[in-house]
């Protein structure tokens, strides 16, 4: 009797295991700056990846070529360091057998990861790698989601031109590849628009006290400040600008003010604007995947925090890879890369189209940015879209 029961149990176990054997696993590798200077934005990006994975797996996986693939992530903490990225992307490909890659966060780390992904011929979708240079090195498997760095502050310059064409601008930016690339492009743009540039200062990534720089800004007679870098320096600069009553009428900083954590600065955050790849209020009609509102709702429910553009970028990276695999009907690298090359689609993140020209392959051509600003509404801080006019949710606070 017991032996019969055992046989039945084993048979049932085999039957139950049957469908799982038919299902395959798709491994995607990436590193996250769980620690270090970039962790605030990098973790948001990772959460975007994870939400996409969980939703795809809950829906049964990616269907391509008669097969279904469940998503499996392999990721490591890169500690916000280039050397770690170099080691870990090699490991992800050669030891963990990652079939596709997502990028780490920030232009500097993406540039390092891109060398490895290209050496091994692996498709890598990059989020948080806005600097153009990486895409102009002849890479064939790199696909950029973000608008390139040169476009980051174009909206801020246009908005300022409309509000005060006589503003005197101080450029104060972090001495890193991304921030410098943005600053160089914006400086030229501002000069073309006829603005007077009264100060041009880069600061070390380790800067902890912005007091001396703010005194220079005041001495230069600036009425607008444009620049910044990433979260820690941007938050410190904002707080000190407020504490030192720098008297600026316009402040646009990169990256930092986009984070929901920026609200912890309280009153100091009011009026600070940020170029944003995406905001929860955008109302694109997606060709596939959820709308911005649906994504925001799902993300907020899972992580109890509203998503910023890093999170939305992470989610969209997954969405675009999924779409390309479905279009290609296979997980073959070359065919998926071909499908990505042909992509011209609108998702919750906006339009995506990659350059297919050899000299700048993978550079983002379709996506457009918005300019958001922290404003006080009903006693609470909220981030409003102020530019372009067609997308604005509030008037510019100047």
């Amino acid at each position: 009797m017991n032996a019969n029961k055992l046989c039945l149990f084993i048979a049932a176990a085999f039957l139950a295991a049957g469908p799982a054997v038919a299902q395959e696993t798709l491994t995607i590798g990436f590193t996250v700056s769980q620690t270090g200077k970039l962790n605030n934005d990098s973790i948001a990006q990772m959460r975007g990846f994870e939400l996409w994975r969980d939703q795809v797996n809950a829906a049964g996986g990616i269907k391509a070529g008669g097969k279904t693939y469940k998503i499996n992530f392999v990721s490591y903490d890169d500690e916000s360091q280039n050397t770690r990225v170099q080691q870990l992307y090699t490991r992800l490909i050669s030891e963990d057998n990652a079939q596709f890659l997502f990028s780490p966060y920030s232009s500097g780390l993406v540039a390092t990861a891109a060398i490895i992904s290209e050496q091994y011929g692996k498709v890598m979708l990059t989020t948080g790698g806005a600097e153009e240079k990486t895409y102009r090195l002849g890479n064939k498997n790199l696909f950029q989601l973000y608008s390139p760095a040169g476009q980051y502050l174009a909206g801020a310059v246009q908005a300022l031109k409309q509000i005060n064409a006589n503003a005197q601008i101080a450029f104060v930016y972090k001495d890193d590849p991304f921030s410098k690339a943005v600053a160089i492009a914006t400086r030229e743009l501002a000069a073309k628009q006829g603005f007077k540039l009264v100060l041009d200062e880069s600061y070390s990534p380790d800067t902890t006290d912005f007091g001396p720089i703010i005194n220079k800004v005041i001495s230069a007679g600036a009425t607008a400040l444009i620049g910044g870098g990433h979260y820690p320096d941007g938050a410190t600069l904002t707080r000190q600008l407020f504490d030192q009553k720098a008297g600026l009428k316009w402040v646009t900083l990169l990256v930092a003010p986009d984070s929901p954590n920026f609200a912890t600065l309280g009153e100091a955050a009011v009026g600070i604007s940020v170029p944003s790849q995406w905001e929860p209020q955008v109302a694109f009609k997606p060709d596939f995947g959820p709308s911005a509102a649906e994504f925001t709702k799902a993300f907020s429910a899972k992580y109890s925090i509203e998503p910023g553009y890093h999170a939305a970028g992470g989610y969209t990276a997954g969405l675009l890879l999924q779409h390309a695999i479905e279009q290609a009907g296979t997980i073959d690298q070359e065919k998926v890369a071909d499908a990505l090359n042909k992509t011209d689609a609108t998702t919750l993140f906006g339009r995506t189209k990659f350059s297919t020209e050899a000299k700048e392959h993978g550079l983002q051509l379709g996506h457009e940015m918005v300019l958001a600003q922290w404003q006080m509404k009903g006693g609470k801080l909220s981030k409003e879209v102020i530019w372009p006019k067609s997308a604005k949710t509030a008037e510019i606070l100047y």
């Binding site: 769980q34 270090g36 410190t236 009553k245």
Partner: protein, 286 residues
């Protein structure tokens, strides 16, 4: 010109806090010849003490200062017995490695508890306005507290029995032992004192700027520069060294790109090591 003066005043105010941090480092070196590489981590723990006081307990920011002194002292005594006591009489490399290891442990614990995300403790005090420039109340208060604590340290070292014992142990440990001074207790007391100074300087720095678990590194490097400027093992020199460093930073900034300031600091560091190995204020001790 006003801008230059404003920059110098700002630099001096922050420099006093750098000086306080460096006093902890130099005191430990002066008494027991230990280069304390947990210094940056301790500064960070002092920062989180402020966060705990204000954001978690809802207490006034400056109430954290006496707490930091007391807690930092206790923490320092414990750290002495864990990491320093057994390596004091060994080659300097041993104490360097021991404190480096403890630094990694402390940073690891801090990362696990707080992640490396930035924290901000909003402390606001009315400042002083001079034309377009504002000297924030928090900078002024931090500098005043730093100088006051330095004064208390001076009184402790030069007007109390324990201070006399610390100086005796620093001068000649064997002779102090022969005179009946319990040198081990004195060493642990001095180590606790050094850590308390680093801890409280972290608390004061957190009233000025947002911070992360990794912020201590930058202040540790500054403390080394200040210590060399002020003379290794000379607490009063450390305070003056901090103020001098802040003054130089403030005076140089208006005339050069700010990204050059760290280069200026380290050129000074090398010059001080070569030309004034006992610190630029060594004349005051001769």
């Amino acid at each position: 010109m006003i801008g230059v003066l404003a920059s110098i005043i700002d630099g001096v105010l922050v420099g006093a806090v750098y000086g306080l941090a460096a006093m902890g480092l130099t005191l430990i070196w002066g008494v027991m010849r230990v280069i304390n590489l947990t210094h940056g981590a301790i500064i960070v723990f002092g920062m989180f003490a402020l966060y705990f006081f204000v954001s978690t307990l809802g207490l006034p920011a400056y109430a954290a200062v006496p707490f930091s002194l007391v807690f930092g002292f206790g923490f320092g005594v414990a750290l002495y017995w864990i990491a320093a006591h057994r390596v004091i009489d060994r080659p300097i490399l041993m104490s360097l490695l021991a404190t480096f290891s403890m630094n990694m442990v402390l940073i690891g614990i801090g990362t696990a508890l707080f992640s490396t995300s930035p924290y901000n403790v909003p402390v606001s005090l009315p400042g002083l306005r001079w034309q377009a420039y504002t000297f924030t109340g928090t900078h002024i208060v931090a500098a005043v507290i730093a100088v006051a604590i330095a004064g208390l340290l001076y009184l402790l070292l030069y007007r109390t029995r324990i201070g006399k014992a610390i100086r005796a142990v620093a001068g000649n440990r064997d002779a102090a032992e022969l005179c009946g001074i319990p040198t081990t207790q004195v060493l642990s007391f001095a180590f606790g004192l050094g850590i308390a100074l680093a801890f409280v300087s972290g608390t004061l720095i957190a009233t000025l700027f947002p911070f992360t678990v990794l912020s201590g590194q930058a202040y540790q490097v500054k403390s080394f520069v200040v210590t060399v400027l002020g003379g290794l093992g000379n607490p009063a020199g450390a305070l003056l060294g901090g103020i001098t460093l802040g003054l130089i930073e403030g005076a140089a900034t208006p005339f050069m790109p700010v990204s050059w300031i760290p280069i200026v600091e380290f050129v000074l560091f090398v010059i001080a090591l070569l030309a004034f190995p006992r610190g630029i204020f060594s004349f005051s001790r001769s």
